[in-house]
């Protein structure tokens, strides 16, 4: 049985270290780095890199991804739930705009083979970005552009 005083010392050291790291990591990206005007060392593996930023910035514009399969020159919108079929409990990952990730630069190398495997019927695919630039002022203004094409 560990001596109680020794145990309490271990606990105290752990608590102090934990609290220091927790609050450092929680404030580093948005508060400490601007304060010291330089990039500070970060701890990997545990804390969100930008801090606890849930829903912190929501703008009047909204963008999402639409993927089209093309057969005989005719583009056909693919239901995003058919692209990513994993269902979660109590929420819809597609409605969390999960598909926007496929617009990340350089990701077409991995997304195009995935689309070809899932939808062999189509000859090529168009991955498009749909944007509402002013949702509340101009709700019907909708822009769409092809970000990249797969195949063909």
């Amino acid at each position: 049985m560990m001596n109680i005083q020794l145990r309490n010392k271990f606990i105290s050291i752990f608590v102090v270290l934990w609290l220091a790291i927790f609050y450092y990591e929680s404030t580093c990206y948005y508060y400490l780095q601007p304060l010291f005007k330089r990039e500070l060392p970060r701890m990997k593996f545990l804390f969100p890199p930008a801090g606890w930023i849930m829903f912190y910035n929501i703008e009047d514009n909204f963008g999402y991804t639409e993927v089209y399969g093309v057969k005989n020159g005719n583009p056909q919108l693919i239901d995003p739930h058919q692209i990513f079929q994993t269902r979660a409990l109590g929420y819809d990952n597609i409605n969390r705009n999960a598909l926007i990730t496929v617009l990340t630069p350089g990701i077409s190398d991995s997304f195009c083979p995935f689309l070809k495997r899932k939808f062999p019927y189509f000859e090529k695919f168009l991955v498009t970005y749909v944007e509402y630039p002013h949702l509340t002022e101009q709700p019907f203004e909708k822009l769409q552009k092809v970000v990249y094409a797969c195949g063909g």
Binding site: F14, K44, T86, A88, N95
Partner: protein, 411 residues
């Protein structure tokens, strides 16, 4: 100063709240990760579409994990499922927590597309703290049954883990509010709730009852946004001040229920965050409440368990029942030697035997609630008695807990 530090972190307090919390952490992890296993070829195998969190993992770790052959991924799936289940039921709860957390890290590094969210990061921080001690296995666990300690529910431990979890919860609230009004946050200068209500279906907002109305009332949305920020900023203080704690816990519970009803947020919001609120209930108050119920039950007529006192397996099974008997509802009576099955005499003069006695007990003992669907499953009324009779016939051959071997297990 030393006294304050002792009170905050080192003082020994009952760990029953932490044990209860373990079940919700396990549910949050399982319900978040397991659905992603139903489409392994889409999510984790070599055919999957993957994204990586290079801010969270060093590139070398991600590259290393990506070299996993499909068979290793399958092995990790099974490893996760086994360790997750052990953690849920509290079997070797600290070791299973560590191994399950390692599996979580593996899948996060393998592909963060489905499981990587900000709430997942909160869950990982929670899991890290849970890995530090075995305190969460003190009660509501198979570990407690293995130990056979009938006072396990009032076991006291240093409070630091629960305190750090409290601080994590309170700080997450505070920083979430702070980020909304400082730096790049726009909840004061703009009207985020109004925009959310006007998002198309791909947006994060669910189609709840008031959504359409709110989409046409920007002033109401702005005031709602300010109230949300004010609540998040004040919540830590409300939770730590004893006079406001109860109201803050209720507010926090309602808060997360509202979030789940109005936004497409991960299951973690439903299972972890409300349970985090319950960590603020003083453990001694939980013990006082249990003791009050035990005192009431002690005065009222007891259901009686009649068992074979000459059989070590029966004595050790009754010891397990005693550990599970949180409300002190049962009285244990040694029956005649060689009786064929356990009997339960209820306070309304009904007699149940064997499997049906066990089924009745499942309603009385909180730790048996999870087996209720199993013992009432169609066909259980036929198979259950057969299984019970087989166990009863061979009861002298079964191993017993060391506390009950020979004549040493006094009940």
């Amino acid at each position: 100063m030393k006294n304050i530090w002792n009170t905050l972190f080192l003082e020994e307090r009952p760990s029953i709240g932490l044990s209860f919390f373990r079940i919700f952490v396990a549910l949050a992890v399982g319900l978040h990760v397991i659905p992603s296993f139903f489409h392994l070829e889409d999510n984790y195998l070599s055919t999957a579409f993957k994204t990586f969190n290079y801010n969270f993992f060093p590139p070398s770790i991600i590259d290393w994990v990506q070299k996993s052959p499909d068979v290793l991924v399958i092995i990790f799936v099974w490893a996760f499922l086994i360790t997750w289940f052990c953690f849920l039921i509290g079997l070797f709860s600290q070791i299973s927590c560590i191994l399950m957390t390692l599996c979580c890290y593996y899948f996060y590094a393998l592909n963060d597309f489905h499981i990587g969210t900000l709430s997942w990061d909160i869950l990982l921080v929670t899991l890290f703290l849970m890995c530090v001690t075995p305190y969460h296995g003190d009660y509501f666990s198979v570990d407690a049954l293995r130990r056979g300690d009938i006072d396990a529910w009032r076991r006291k431990r240093p409070f630091f883990i629960q305190r750090l979890l409290q601080l994590q919860t309170a700080s997450t609230f505070f920083f979430t509010g702070l980020y909304k009004i400082t730096g790049q946050g726009n909840w004061i200068t703009d009207n985020p709730i109004y925009y959310l209500m006007n998002y198309p279906t791909q947006g994060v907002t669910k189609n709840f009852l008031l959504k359409e109305w709110m989409a046409g009332h920007p002033h109401f949305c702005y005031v709602t946004g300010l109230m949300i920020v004010a609540t998040e900023l004040t919540m830590p203080f409300l939770l730590f001040i004893p006079r406001t704690r109860r109201a803050a816990i209720i507010l926090g519970l309602c808060w997360h229920i509202l979030l789940v009803l109005t936004l497409d947020v991960p299951a973690i919001f439903l299972f972890l965050f409300p349970a985090q609120m319950m960590l603020f209930i003083h453990p001694q108050k939980i013990i006082d409440w249990i003791e009050a119920r035990r005192r009431i039950n002690a005065k009222s007529p007891h259901p009686k368990i009649i068992y074979d006192g000459n059989c070590g397996f029966c004595r050790s099974s009754v010891r397990v029942l005693q550990v599970m008997d949180l409300w002190g509802k049962l009285e244990y009576v040694t029956g005649p030697k060689g009786m064929s099955e356990m009997k339960l005499y209820t306070s309304d003069d009904k007699i149940y035997g064997g499997f049906f006695a066990f089924r009745r007990l499942a309603w009385m003992l909180p730790m048996l609630y999870p087996v209720l669907p199993l013992v009432y499953f169609p066909g259980a009324g036929i198979l259950g008695p057969l299984a019970y009779r087989w166990v009863a016939r061979n009861r002298y051959l079964f191993p017993v807990f060391h506390t009950c071997s020979g004549e040493s297990c006094h009940l």
